[in-house]
C-alpha cells in the first residue's frame, strides 16, 4: 500500500490524520480509495479527470508526469503539493487544494 501524506489543507477531512496507508496500483486508484476512506478528498485533488491545476502529485521523489495513470508501488510515498514550480499564476476561483 502507498503511504499517502495528507496536505495540510485536507486534514480537516481526515480528522487531522497526516499520513495514511492506501491501496491502489495507480494514482487514480489510490485517490479513489482515499475518497472511500475520507469523503471529500477527491474533489480537492482531481478536476476534469486530472490532477487539479495549481497542484502537483509527487509519487516517490519527484512530481509525476503521468498524472492519474502513474503506477504506484508498494510502500511508495505519495504527496500532493500546491504550487510546485516557480512563476505560477493561480487563483481563479480558489486554487491548489481549494474547492
Amino acid at each position: 500500500m502507498a503511504r499517502v501524506f495528507i496536505p495540510f489543507a485536507l486534514r480537516k477531512l481526515t480528522d487531522g490524520v497526516t499520513e495514511v496507508r492506501v491501496s491502489g496500483g495507480t494514482l487514480r486508484e489510490v485517490i479513489d480509495n482515499l475518497e472511500e476512506m475520507y469523503p471529500g478528498t477527491k474533489e480537492r485533488i482531481v478536476e476534469n479527470d486530472a490532477i487539479k491545476s495549481g497542484l502537483a502529485a509527487v509519487v516517490g521523489e519527484q512530481p509525476t508526469r503521468e498524472g492519474l495513470r502513474t503506477k504506484v508501488g508498494e510502500d511508495i510515498e505519495v504527496h500532493f503539493i500546491p504550487h510546485i514550480a516557480g512563476g505560477r499564476a493561480v487563483a481563479r476561483c480558489g486554487s491548489g487544494l481549494g474547492r
Binding site: F5, F8, A9, L10, K12, T18, R44, S53, G54, V58, G60, E61, Q62, P63, T64, R65, E66, E77, H79, I81, P82, H83, I84, A85, G86, G87, R88, A89, V90, A91, R92, C93, G94, S95, G96, L97, G98, R99
Partner: protein, 758 residues
C-alpha cells in the same frame, strides 16, 4: 560520490557553434527583424498603479496620417477562466489576457491600455499620445503588508482566494498554503537556542540586456507567424493560442536569438497585440519593441516581500525545529513563486519538525515572473542568516554546523518528498577545503575600510519535462541537430556534445539549430535549469536511435545480422571478423547507396531532475564613511552533476553570483507612494558591471545525477541563491551589524552604523 567517468567529448571546451555569429553581430535578434510592408507598433500604458478605465477615445490616433490600426481590449477575444501549463508554471488565461491589455481596470503603472500600428516608429509614438483615456484613480497597495491590511483596496475584485483550502472573497491574498511535518512545538521545546527574525526584500528585475519584442503577421488564412525573443517558443505558442482563442496549429513561433531572459521571457506581453494589429492592418507585419522603461514598468520582475524564519537547535548543534512564514507580492495579478520558495527554504538541512506558510499576495506593481531559482534567494537570505546567527550563539563553526545538519540522500524535504542522491555534503566539504575558505582574511582594508567574510548555502530543485530533438546524418559524416530549446547560455553546444559523445564524433561535427514550432516536436521552456539536462537527454536518445539505424546499414553492407555488429568509440565493427570495421564517417559516406537518408528523433518527458546545491564564500570591504561595499574575493562551489562544457557551467555560476551580488547590494524597485517605479533606467537601477567585481572563482563538484545517462544536473539557477545571505553574513563579520533588509546599500549601512555607534 564524485564522478570519475571518462568521456571523449563531455568535459571538453569546444567553441560554441553560434559564437562567431554572436561576436560578429550577424546573429539576428528581435529588433533586427525587417519584413516587406512592416508596420511599427507602440503601446499606450497606464500612468496610474490602480485605476478604473472610464473611457478610451482612440479617434485622435485613428485620424492621424500613417496610422493603420488601433486596438484596445475590445479587440481581444474573451479568454476563458482556464489554467494552462507552460512547463515552468501555469497561467490563468483570463488574467493573462487582462495583463496583456487592461480590460476595465489597470492594476499597475505601465499596464497596457491601447496599441497602435503605423508606418513609422515616430508616428506610432505620437499616435498613442493622441489616445484619450479617462481614469478613476483608486487607492493602491504597494507592499504585502499594505495589501493585507484592513481596508486595503481590492485589486482583482472578482478573485476568490484560497486560505488553507477555504475560499476567501474581497481579498488580495490569492493563496495561503502550509507544509507541516513532525511536531513543531515538541521540536522547539527540545531546543536550547532559538533565533527568529523577519527578512525583507525589495522587488528586483532580471535586467536582461535585450528588451522584449515581437513581430507578427496574421494572414488572410487565419494563420499567425510570430518572431520573438523568448525562452520557450512552444509555451509562447500555447499562450498566444489561449489568449487569442485560436488553434495552436495555426500559430508558428520563430524564436530569435535571445539577449538574456533568466525566467523573465516565459510570459508573453507584446505578441497578441502585434498579431491583432496585423489582422486589423490587413495582414501586414507589425513589430513592437519595448524600451527599458517599459521593461521595468511592465514585465515580470521577481517579488518583493518578506520571509520570517524561526529555528531552534539543541546543545549538540542539531536543528530540532524550523518554521517559516513567506509573503511574496505577486504584482498586479496572482502568481508569485512562493510555492517554489517553500520547497527551498529549509532544503539544505535535515530537520525533523517543520512548518512553512506561504502567501501569494496581489499588489499594484508589475506582475512578477520567474527569475533564476524563483523564490529561493529570498528564503536563503532568511535561513542562512539565521543559521549564521545560531552558529555565533552556540559557538560552532559555520561549515561544521551546516555539515552536521546537512540534507542528504534519504532526507525529507520540508514540503514532503525524500531527497534522491544529492551533493549537498560534497559541496560543503569542497567549500571547507577551498583555497578561499582556508585563506586568512586581512581585516584591515586600509583607509579605514573594514573587511568581513561570509558564507551561505543554496538549493534549487531543477525540472525535467518535455523536449524533442531530430538528428540527420550527412554523407560527409557530419550530423544536423534540430532542437526546440532556445539557447540562452550555450545549450546548443552542450546538447550537441551529448549527441557527439554517443556518436563518437567531435562536437564540431554536430551542427545544432534552434528552429520554429512548425519544425520540431514539442519542447518546454528553457527554464528550470532543464535544457542541458532534458534536451540533452532527448539528444542522447536520438543519437542512440541513430546508431541503431546505422547498425542496420552496416549489417546490410557486410551481409551480417545487426546483432553481429557492435558500435564502440565511433566505430562499427563485426564482433567476429576483425577485418570488418568502419568509422562513423566511413559508414555515412555509403548511405546514398544503401537506402538513402538516416534520420532519428528523440523525445523525453522527464519526472526526475536531480536538485543542485551551492555554497558561496565572499570577502567584502566596507567604507564606514560612505557605506560603500566592495566585493574583494568571491568563490562559488556547486554540485553540477557532470559538467558537459565546463566553461559554460562556470559561466552560469559566475553569472548567477553576479546577479545575486547586485540584488544584495544595490538593486531594487524604488517605488513612490503612488506605485510608480522611480528608477526605471539602467542609470538609476544599479546593476554590477565587470568593473565593480573581482574574478568570480568557481569550484565544480561533480556528483553525477543518477537519472541522466551522463549524470547531468541543471546548473543555471542555483548560483543566484546564496549571494544575498553570504553578503549579509560578511557584512556582519565586518561591522558587527546584521542587516535584514535587501538591498544592503550604502544608505542602509550608514543608518545601521549610526544606530550602532550612536
Amino acid at each position: 560520490m564524485v564522478s570519475t567517468q571518462e568521456y571523449k567529448v563531455i568535459g571538453t571546451r569546444p567553441i560554441r557553434h553560434d559564437g562567431l555569429d554572436k561576436v560578429t553581430g550577424r546573429a539576428v535578434y528581435g529588433a533586427d527583424i525587417k519584413l516587406p510592408g512592416m508596420l511599427y507598433g507602440d503601446v499606450l500604458r497606464s500612468p496610474h498603479a490602480h485605476a478604473r478605465i472610464k473611457s478610451v477615445d482612440t479617434s485622435g490616433a485613428e485620424a492621424m496620417d500613417g496610422v493603420i490600426a488601433v486596438m484596445t481590449s475590445a479587440d481581444m477575444p474573451e479568454a476563458g477562466d482556464k489554467i494552462v501549463d507552460l512547463g515552468e508554471g501555469e497561467i490563468n488565461l483570463k488574467y493573462a489576457s487582462n495583463h496583456i491589455i487592461a480590460s476595465g481596470k489597470v492594476n499597475f503603472k505601465g499596464h497596457p491600455v491601447a496599441a497602435v500600428a503605423a508606418t513609422s516608429t515616430n508616428i506610432a509614438r505620437e499616435a498613442v499620445r493622441a489616445i484619450k483615456v479617462e481614469y478613476e484613480v483608486l487607492p493602491s497597495a504597494i507592499t504585502v503588508d499594505e495589501a493585507l491590511a484592513d481596508g486595503a483596496p481590492i485589486i482583482c475584485e472578482e478573485m476568490v482566494g484560497d486560505d488553507l483550502g477555504e475560499e476567501v472573497k474581497n481579498t488580495n491574498m490569492a493563496s495561503h498554503f502550509r507544509h507541516e511535518f513532525g511536531d513543531l512545538e515538541k521540536g522547539f521545546s527540545e531546543a536550547t537556542t532559538i533565533v527568529e527574525h523577519r527578512y525583507d526584500l525589495a522587488m528586483v528585475h532580471q535586467g536582461y540586456i535585450e528588451p522584449q519584442n515581437a513581430t507578427a503577421v496574421w494572414n488572410e488564412e487565419g494563420r499567425i507567424k510570430v518572431w520573438v525573443s523568448t525562452q520557450g517558443s512552444f509555451s509562447t505558442r500555447t499562450q498566444i493560442a489561449g489568449v487569442l482563442q485560436i488553434d495552436e496549429s495555426r500559430i508558428n513561433v520563430v524564436p530569435l536569438e535571445i539577449g538574456g531572459g533568466f525566467g523573465g521571457k516565459i510570459p508573453i506581453y507584446l505578441e497578441p497585440l502585434a498579431a491583432i494589429l496585423s489582422k486589423k492592418s490587413g495582414g501586414k507585419p507589425v513589430r513592437i519593441l519595448m524600451d527599458r522603461t517599459d521593461v521595468f514598468d511592465a514585465t515580470g520582475p521577481t517579488p518583493g516581500g518578506w520571509v520570517n524564519v524561526k529555528m531552534g537547535v539543541n546543545d549538540e548543534g542539531i536543528i530540532t525545529a524550523a518554521e517559516s512564514d513567506i509573503r511574496f507580492d505577486a504584482g498586479g495579478f496572482p502568481g508569485s513563486p512562493v510555492g517554489a520558495a517553500a520547497m527551498c527554504v529549509f532544503s539544505c538541512y535535515d530537520i525533523a519538525n517543520t512548518r512553512i506558510d506561504g502567501y501569494d499576495i496581489i499588489v499594484n506593481k508589475p506582475k512578477t515572473a520567474a527569475y533564476r531559482a524563483p523564490g529561493s534567494t529570498h528564503v536563503a537570505f532568511a535561513t542562512e542568516s539565521v543559521v549564521d546567527e545560531i552558529c555565533e550563539k552556540i559557538g560552532m563553526d559555520v561549515v561544521e554546523f551546516r555539515l552536521k545538519n546537512a540534507s542528504k540522500e534519504g532526507s525529507r524535504r520540508a514540503d514532503g518528498p525524500i531527497f534522491p542522491l544529492i551533493g549537498n555534503v560534497e559541496t560543503l566539504e569542497a567549500s571547507q577545503a577551498s583555497p578561499h575558505w582556508q585563506s586568512e582574511l586581512v581585516r584591515d582594508g586600509g583607509n579605514g575600510k573594514l573587511r568581513g567574510r561570509g558564507i551561505a548555502n543554496g538549493y534549487w530543485f531543477n525540472i525535467g519535462f518535455k523536449s524533442s530533438v531530430n538528428l540527420s546524418v550527412n554523407t560527409d559524416g557530419t550530423v544536423m541537430l534540430v532542437e526546440g530549446s532556445t539557447d540562452i547560455g550555450g545549450t546548443r553546444v552542450s546538447i550537441a556534445m551529448q549527441a557527439a559523445e554517443v556518436l563518437g564524433i567531435p562536437a564540431e561535427d554536430v551542427r545544432p539549430t534552434v528552429v520554429d514550432t512548425d519544425s520540431v516536436g514539442y519542447t518546454d521552456v528553457t527554464g528550470g535549469s532543464r535544457t542541458c539536462y532534458a534536451t540533452g537527454y532527448a539528444a542522447y536518445n536520438a543519437a542512440k536511435s541513430l546508431i541503431t539505424k546505422l547498425t542496420t546499414r552496416a549489417a546490410s553492407i557486410w551481409d551480417l545480422s545487426e546483432d553481429q555488429i557492435e558500435f564502440s568509440e565511433g566505430k562499427f565493427a563485426s564482433k567476429s571478423d576483425p577485418e570488418l570495421s568502419m568509422t562513423f564517417k566511413e559508414l555515412a559516406s555509403q548511405l546514398n547507396d544503401t537506402g538513402g537518408p538516416v534520420n532519428s528523433t528523440g523525445a523525453v518527458d522527464l519526472e526526475n531532475a536531480g536538485g543542485s546545491f551551492a555554497t558561496h564564500i565572499v570577502d567584502l570591504e566596507i567604507d564606514p564613511e560612505t557605506g560603500k561595499t566592495d566585493v574583494v574575493r568571491y568563490t562559488t562551489v556547486q554540485d553540477v552533476g557532470t559538467a558537459i562544457h565546463p566553461s559554460y557551467v562556470e559561466g552560469q555560476m559566475q553569472g548567477g553570483a553576479v546577479q545575486g551580488i547586485g540584488w544584495a547590494l544595490n538593486e531594487e524597485y524604488f517605488m513612490s507612494d503612488e506605485g510608480a517605479m522611480e528608477n526605471a533606467s539602467f542609470l538609476d537601477y544599479r546593476m554590477p558591471t565587470s568593473l565593480d567585481l573581482p574574478e568570480i572563482e568557481t569550484i565544480l563538484v561533480e556528483v553525477p545525477n543518477p537519472v541522466h545517462p551522463y549524470g547531468v544536473r541543471g546548473v543555471g539557477e542555483t548560483p543566484i541563491v546564496p549571494p544575498v545571505a553570504a553578503i549579509a553574513n560578511a557584512i556582519y563579520d565586518a561591522l558587527g551589524i546584521r542587516l535584514r533588509s535587501a538591498p544592503m546599500n550604502p544608505g542602509r549601512i550608514l543608518v545601521a552604523l549610526k544606530e550602532k555607534n550612536g
